[in-house]
């Protein structure tokens, strides 16, 4: 059977599975819709959390990013796992003990103020939509490359599936679908990694394989990779290029941001007991660590394989994956020295970096681009980093069913995250905005109805983002984490560990974190884009890492302002005492 047909079968079967799970686990009350009736087993919840957390970015983009960043890529590995330690130790058990539906619920109650609740809702909706947009683009890429349907049609199919199980099933449906999606995605991630590890090093465990020697030689893979990358004018693979302070701040922003992401926190509201919330966080991290510890191995293999299979190869003889990805515009080649060979090295291939294709083919058969060649380097290849994981099985010449499996896995990763986020958005609108703020008289049935409506609207908006992808998706990811770190995390942490913090302090803290972080990021990412370099940054900290500074400012402002206003009322003290009890 050809790869195309296999892909249709794998994707079709996995979709049928998700839909049947959704029908089986429909939600019938707000309790089930928001937090799955608090009846989810910690292991199942851990898997669901892991699927929810590992998005299209983790599955598709991360290993590719690390492949090109080398050791600098560690910020994502540490940043996106280390946050779970903070969650498990500092937030999850207490928020579960508090026992409400949403994150703004906690902030609104703890700071006895609807203004605080509103600030939290705004941050939450912004963070969540940023994320959803990225997922829908991931769905579009997979559909267009592997199923050869139009990107727009792919997004619409994805929307229908998510709509079906998120609107019907609520948190309960989503949780059980995510358990299935986790199994699909982790299997799809590990199988090619193990294959490639055996092919390259003879070691079946990728985590050990990339520290092993290459097959038929006694040179270590990483040493060889260092040698090859320096030869081509890149930095050595296992060395940093960013400054230590920048790496420190980016890692910190990602960690504290992770711990402040509402769609992750809300997972710990779904388990039966406080001790289960701790266990859930532990299981979630194990399930996440399986993928995250494999990713750097995949990166090293991919970088090595990529260089091996294209360097000094005649374009006419180039492997078919190279041409397939060129056809959908994610690879471009400009023959600078007219020798018909592909040369890959450091620097940009094209002026303006991204290729702007025109009709027609060049002498070797390559797609023509409107861009002029960037003559400051000899590099002839433009490659979008997002394609490495998807292209990896083809680059390593693995059988068709592995390629089909990766397509199904990538869709599982994108859909599970999108569904989790949409639920958080709909809960914060129907519960926090309508029920708790503007329309307190509505019944539970009406609230459930509004929850479903807002989920539907949110899916529609997310789909629009997928069909008309805003150019700023990549830039705003830094924003999502930065804001979560600078606004939500400090408010939750101080809310639990510092009783004396009053509403004035908390609101001032959140607002100052929000303003400082967004000003810095907007300035460098949108207004003064050409100023975005280490020389101009505050203390050499990039916009990606500035959320950490925003968080420190939030803490200082909150404690300082709090000092000048009266302490919180007695019932807040009682509430904090209660959540601190086991």
């Amino acid at each position: 059977m050809d790869t195309q047909l296999l892909t249709y079968i794998f994707v079709g079967v996995s979709f049928a599975l998700y839909i049947s799970i959704a029908i089986w686990s429909r939600a019938s009350s707000t309790n089930e819709f928001y937090i799955a009736g608090k009846g989810v087993h910690p292991v199942a919840n851990g898997m669901a959390t892991a699927a929810d957390w590992m998005s299209a970015a983790s599955f598709i983009s991360m290993a590719g990013l690390i492949a090109f960043l080398g050791k600098d890529g560690s910020v994502y590995l540490m940043g996106w796992t280390g946050g779970y330690v903070l969650l498990a130790l500092l937030l999850a058990p207490y928020l579960r003990k508090f026992g409400q539906y949403t994150v703004p619920d906690f902030i609104g109650t703890r700071y006895y103020s609807n203004a605080a609740r509103l600030v939290a809702v705004i941050c939450l909706i912004f963070v969540s939509f940023t994320y959803v947009a990225g997922q829908m683009r991931g769905v579009g890429i997979v559909f267009s490359r592997f199923l050869e349907v139009d990107i727009n049609l792919g997004v619409i199919i994805g929307m229908c599936i998510v709509f079906f199980y998120a609107v019907l099933g609520g948190m309960k449906g989503i949780t059980y679908t995510q358990v299935a999606q986790y199994c699909v995605l982790i299997f799809a991630y590990l199988v090619p990694a193990i294959f490639i590890s055996i092919l390259m090093t003879g070691n079946p465990i990728p985590q050990l394989g990339f520290g092993d020697t290459l097959v038929n030689s006694d040179v270590f893979l990483l040493d060889k990779l260092d040698e090859v990358t320096t030869e081509l004018g890149f930095n050595a693979y296992t060395e940093n290029t960013k400054s230590n302070i920048d790496i420190f701040c980016i890692t910190a922003a990602l960690m504290f941001g992770t711990a402040g992401l509402p769609h992750v926190i809300v997972r710990f509201f779904t388990v039966p007991k406080v001790s289960d919330a701790r266990k859930s966080a532990g299981y979630a991290l194990i399930f996440i660590a399986i993928l995250y510890s494999t990713a750097p191995a995949v990166s090293a293999f991919a970088r090595m394989n990529f260089i091996d299979s294209v360097q000094e190869v005649q374009y006419k003889e180039a492997p078919s994956w190279f041409k397939n990805w060129e056809n959908i515009g994610l690879i471009a080649w400009k023959d600078k020295n007219n020798d018909e060979l592909i040369q890959y090295s450091s620097g940009n291939a094209l002026e303006g970096v991204k290729p702007n294709f025109e009709d027609g083919r060049g002498i070797s058969g390559e797609r023509l681009v409107k861009n002029n060649a960037d003559l400051t380097s000899t590099n002839e290849v433009y490659i979008d980093r997002d394609i490495m994981v998807l292209a990896n099985p083809e680059i390593a010449k693995l059988p068709g069913w592995v390629i089909a499996l990766v397509a199904a896995g990538a869709l599982a990763a994108a859909l599970s995250t999108a569904a989790g986020l949409l639920l958080v958005i709909s809960a914060s609108i129907s519960h926090d905005l309508l029920k708790k703020t503007f329309m307190p008289q509505i019944t539970e049935k009406q609230e459930l109805f509004y929850a479903r409506c807002s989920a539907a609207v949110a899916i529609f908006i997310a789909g629009l983002f997928g069909i008309y992808p805003p150019g700023f998706v990549a830039q705003v990811v830094a924003f999502a984490f930065g804001l979560a770190a600078a606004t939500i995390f400090p408010a939750l942490l101080l809310g639990i560990f510092y009783k004396r913090l009053n509403k004035e302090g908390a609101i001032a803290g959140m607002l100052s974190g929000l303003v400082v972080t967004s000003t810095y990021i907007i300035n460098y990412k949108f207004i003064n884009i050409n100023m975005n370099s280490a020389d101009n940054w505050f203390l050499g900290i990039s916009p990606e890492g500035f959320g950490f500074i925003g968080m420190i400012i939030n803490f200082i402002v909150a404690l300082f302002v709090s000092y000048f206003f009266s302490k919180p009322p007695d019932d807040v003290y009682h509430m904090i005492d209660k959540i601190r009890e086991p």
Partner: protein
């Protein structure tokens, strides 16, 4: 009355977070270049902590926390029962 419980909790959390900081920000970032002079198989040690080791320690830390807190919860419950 639950002051003891809360203090022990804070102690556990701060010790574990100190280790958390050491293995990630310490070994993986600040001391990473220094540790790179040691090599285990094909891995430079600093590189290994940054891309592998820190993640394993994170998992371990959460499970130690779960174990210690379950023990503490149980002790706390026994104490409450004795009082009443």
């Amino acid at each position: 009355m639950n002051n003891n419980y809360w203090c022990s909790n804070l102690k556990i959390v701060s010790i574990l977070l100190a280790i958390w900081f050491l293995v990630s920000f310490g070994f993986g970032i600040i001391l990473s270049d220094f540790l790179d002079q040691f090599q285990i198989a094909g891995f430079k040690l600093g590189f290994w902590f940054a891309q592998q080791g820190s993640i394993y320690f994170f998992v371990l830390l959460i499970f130690i926390y779960i174990y210690l807190m379950n023990k503490l919860d149980k002790k706390h419950k026994d104490n409450l029962e004795k009082e009443s």
